[in-house]
């Protein structure tokens, strides 16, 4: 298992490199620069701006320059969106909000999905099971940008329980409740299904039968024996779930007007702000890699069979 984790760890820089290179190639090979859409510019100024951001050099040199910056953890300056601000400062400003939102979303998904799936698995093919699975499938099929406005409509406007949109910092967590619920719904659905399938699979295995035979109570079997292994599919899903939550936050931050990294990415992509796009993409890639590693670790702890 140690060797496996080490390999995953060694893969991480490779993944980041592939991600960065892909983004670089897509952005730099396309016509139109960050200044293309603005008002007619003095050619002298345009040349100087291009030289300042190394946009006038051959593409290979630009790539090398970009890689060396990356190696020094220097992401450069924002070209157009926040002219003159360093990417690192923009990311540091927006990342905590996005992280908090994403973590809340993931937590909610687990808190809703795991009990729902476990209850389903305890009474398979019952009415409650069918109901919770239909709800789960509906949640998977609902785009987050439909759930978001509906929640805002019901809980914000009709019931006045929670604010509709906006973000007021960590001191006002109420603003994050609706976005987090909207973000978590599809994942809660998936996790419920995975938990149910995982538990059903485990409950029919030999070691559970042995536990029953030696007279352990159903509760003890579920908690001590089945849950550990039954969670394996849920945990291995957490990696892809984090990726999906990251992309989901792009939309949720837009719907609820939350100033996070996802909104920054969309704005900078449309603005052709190369450096800011690259910075946000790399941060997202890094988060994803870390979460994948974490999921691998937890998986190894839960299921001894994966510790090869």
């Amino acid at each position: 298992m140690g060797a496996y984790l080490l390999r995953r760890l060694l893969q991480a820089p490779l993944i980041l490199l592939v991600l960065a290179s892909l983004s670089f190639v897509i952005m730099r090979l396309a016509p139109g620069g960050p200044f293309a859409s603005e008002r007619a510019m003095d050619p002298e100024v345009a040349r100087e701006l291009a030289a300042h951001y190394h946009l006038n050099e051959p593409i290979g040199r630009q790539y090398l320059h970009f890689l060396s910056g990356l190696a020094h953890a220097d992401l450069g300056m924002s070209i157009s969106t926040y002219r003159g601000q360093s990417i690192v400062s923009v990311i540091l400003r927006d990342l905590p909000t996005s992280l908090l939102l994403g973590a809340l979303g993931l937590l909610l998904a687990l808190l809703i999905g795991v009990p729902a799936g476990a209850l389903s698995a305890m009474r398979p093919h019952s009415g409650a099971d069918a109901l919770s699975m239909v709800v789960a499938l509906t949640a998977i099929s609902l785009p987050t940008f439909v759930i978001g406005p509906l929640l805002a409509l019901v809980f914000g406007l009709w019931l006045h329980w929670l604010p509709i949109a906006g973000y007021q910092g960590f001191s006002h967590p109420a603003y994050l409740v609706l976005p987090a619920i909207a973000l978590s719904a599809p994942f809660a659905g998936r996790i419920a299904r995975l938990t149910r399938a995982g538990l059903l699979d485990v409950m029919s295995q030999d070691f559970v039968r042995s536990a029953r035979a030696k007279g352990a109570s159903e509760l003890r079997i579920a908690v001590r024996h089945a849950l550990r292994l039954g969670f394996a599919p849920v945990v291995s899903y957490l990696g892809p779930a984090v990726a999906a939550i990251l992309t989901g936050s792009l939309v949720i931050e837009q719907v609820f007007q939350i100033p996070g990294l996802g909104r920054e990415f969309v704005i900078s992509a449309f603005n052709r702000d190369f450096t800011l796009v690259m910075g946000t993409v790399l941060v997202y890639g890094l988060i994803l890699i870390l979460c994948n590693l974490l999921a691998d670790l937890v998986l190894a702890m839960l299921d001894p069979r994966t510790r090869r």
């Binding site: 499938l137 785009p143 940008f145 299904r193 990726a243 994803l288």
Partner: protein, 450 residues
């Protein structure tokens, strides 16, 4: 292989039957959209604005003209002979701004002059919250400056609304006698003229008289109209074509890449297989939607870029599944026989390995379609609508985005713009997921849901 009795019972599951029927109905409705609705989904009638479901309006196009000797192609006339009379209205609007200051109302007309009273019970009074593009009919109220705000009008504490009172003035009535589909005689309020144009005026009524009698020409919008006066039903059906087509074609793209990659990896085996799978691991860890967004922004959001981009996101799982199946097939006699006969690799892969994975491939393709539709709607939502020949192809995702933008959070006016596209899309995705799950259970009862 005949299905087991248990599988047969599950084949007859009512939920799956309903889901299949629903998908089939929606597909047929979207393909046959021109037969089901005569409305052009792109046709703007800005003067109409957003009309609730079931409303109707005079059946004529805006921005058009009648001229002597010319054909009238902007009214759907039932017969080539008869008399057409069109009544138009010049519209004008007074606008006001109403705000709450320290719990009391303040009313200002255009230019900032204060107004003591505002009667909203008059015909044509509309209001909207700021930053919301949709006007909704005003409740029958009288607002007085200095009084506390009436309940229900200002859900928030310190908010402002815009009020508009639309008047129709100076009606014009054009009467055109039409023979053989062409205008032979034209009058404007009784005076003979040679041509008249409908420059942005609202058409109040269109009547048609022929041998069978006189009747009003009206068109009904069963699901209402959007902010630009476009028919929601036809937009829904034509949007469905886009969503379903994207789902289908991108799935085929992902199928081709994934099946070839997986089959090759499984066929080669050994070290090659290891490297190909390690590559897959790296690709799995990349947040591909970000790359897709960059591709669409920078390379252009043409329909083909979208197909390839979405297909490229989805092929990874397919490759893994096919590779696993191929690996287990590689030790079977018929493959060994093929290799012993010296068949070329491509022949074994294409003629023997892939056909034997067909069931599994079909199941995962069925699950890929809803995933792709969802991803496309996501892209539409952040503003990357599919383009084809410089025209936006508005899918269900784009319609939902319009609905979200148009929804008036204070009065709920405009709900049909969000509800119908959302219902349609959720219904189809749910049904497709149900069918895909069911197929997977039939093919492999031990598989876990994704």
């Amino acid at each position: 292989m005949s299905p087991s009795p248990r599988a047969r019972r599950r084949l007859a599951s009512p939920a799956v039957a309903i889901a299949t029927t629903l998908v089939a109905l929606v597909v047929v409705a979207c393909v046959a959209a021109p037969l089901l609705t005569s409305q052009d989904p792109q046709l703007l009638r800005e003067y109409l604005g957003a009309l609730p479901p079931g409303s109707s309006h005079p059946d004529c196009l805006d921005h058009n003209r009648i001229a002597l000797g010319e054909a009238i192609d902007w009214c759907r006339l039932p017969a080539p002979q008869g008399t057409l009379s069109v009544t138009t209205q010049h519209l004008s609007a007074e606008s006001y701004r109403v705000l709450v200051r320290r719990g009391l109302l303040e009313i200002r007309a255009q230019g900032g002059t204060r107004v003591p009273r505002l009667d909203l019970s008059r015909a044509g009074a509309e209001l909207r919250a700021y930053n919301v593009p949709l006007w909704s009919p005003a409740p029958p109220l009288t607002l007085s400056a200095g009084a506390p705000p009436p309940a229900g009008l200002f859900p928030g504490a310190e908010r402002a609304i815009a009020v508009r009172i639309v008047h129709g003035r100076s009606e014009d009535a054009w009467v055109a006698a039409i023979q053989g589909g062409r205008v032979q005689h034209l009058t404007d309020n009784g005076l003979e003229i040679t041509q008249a144009s409908l420059d942005g005026d609202a058409i109040a009524a269109v009547r048609w008289a022929d041998a069978s009698g006189e009747r009003a020409l009206r068109v009904r919008h069963w699901l209402g109209t959007d902010l630009g006066g476009r028919d929601v039903l036809s937009r829904l059906l034509y949007g469905g074509r886009i969503s379903l087509m994207v789902g289908l074609v991108a799935t085929v793209v992902s199928l081709v890449i994934g099946v070839l990659y997986g089959a090759l990896s499984g066929y080669l085996g050994g070290r090659c297989d290891q490297y190909l799978m390690a590559g897959l691991d790296v690709l799995y860890a990349i947040p591909f939607m970000f790359i897709v967004i960059l591709l669409l922004v920078y390379v252009g959001n043409g329909v083909f870029v979208l197909f390839v981009a979405l297909g490229a996101v989805q092929w990874l799982t397919m490759a893994r599944i096919v590779r696993g199946q191929v690996l287990s097939l590689m030790s079977r006699e018929f493959i060994l026989a093929g290799r012993a006969l010296g068949l070329p690799a491509w022949r074994i892969i294409l003629r023997h390995l892939i056909p034997n994975c067909a069931g599994l491939i079909a199941v995962y393709a069925a699950l890929t379609v809803p995933a792709v539709i969802l991803e496309e709607s996501f892209l539409s939502f952040i503003g990357l609508t599919v383009q084809y020949r410089h025209q936006s192809l508005e899918s269900w995702g784009a319609l939902i985005k319009f609905g979200v933008d148009a929804l008036d959070y204070h009065t709920g006016y405009g709900w049909w713009l969000l509800l119908f596209p959302a219902l349609m899309m959720v219904g189809v995705l749910l049904a497709l997921n149900l069918i895909g799950d069911h197929l997977r259970d039939l093919a492999d009862p031990h598989a876990q849901p994704r």
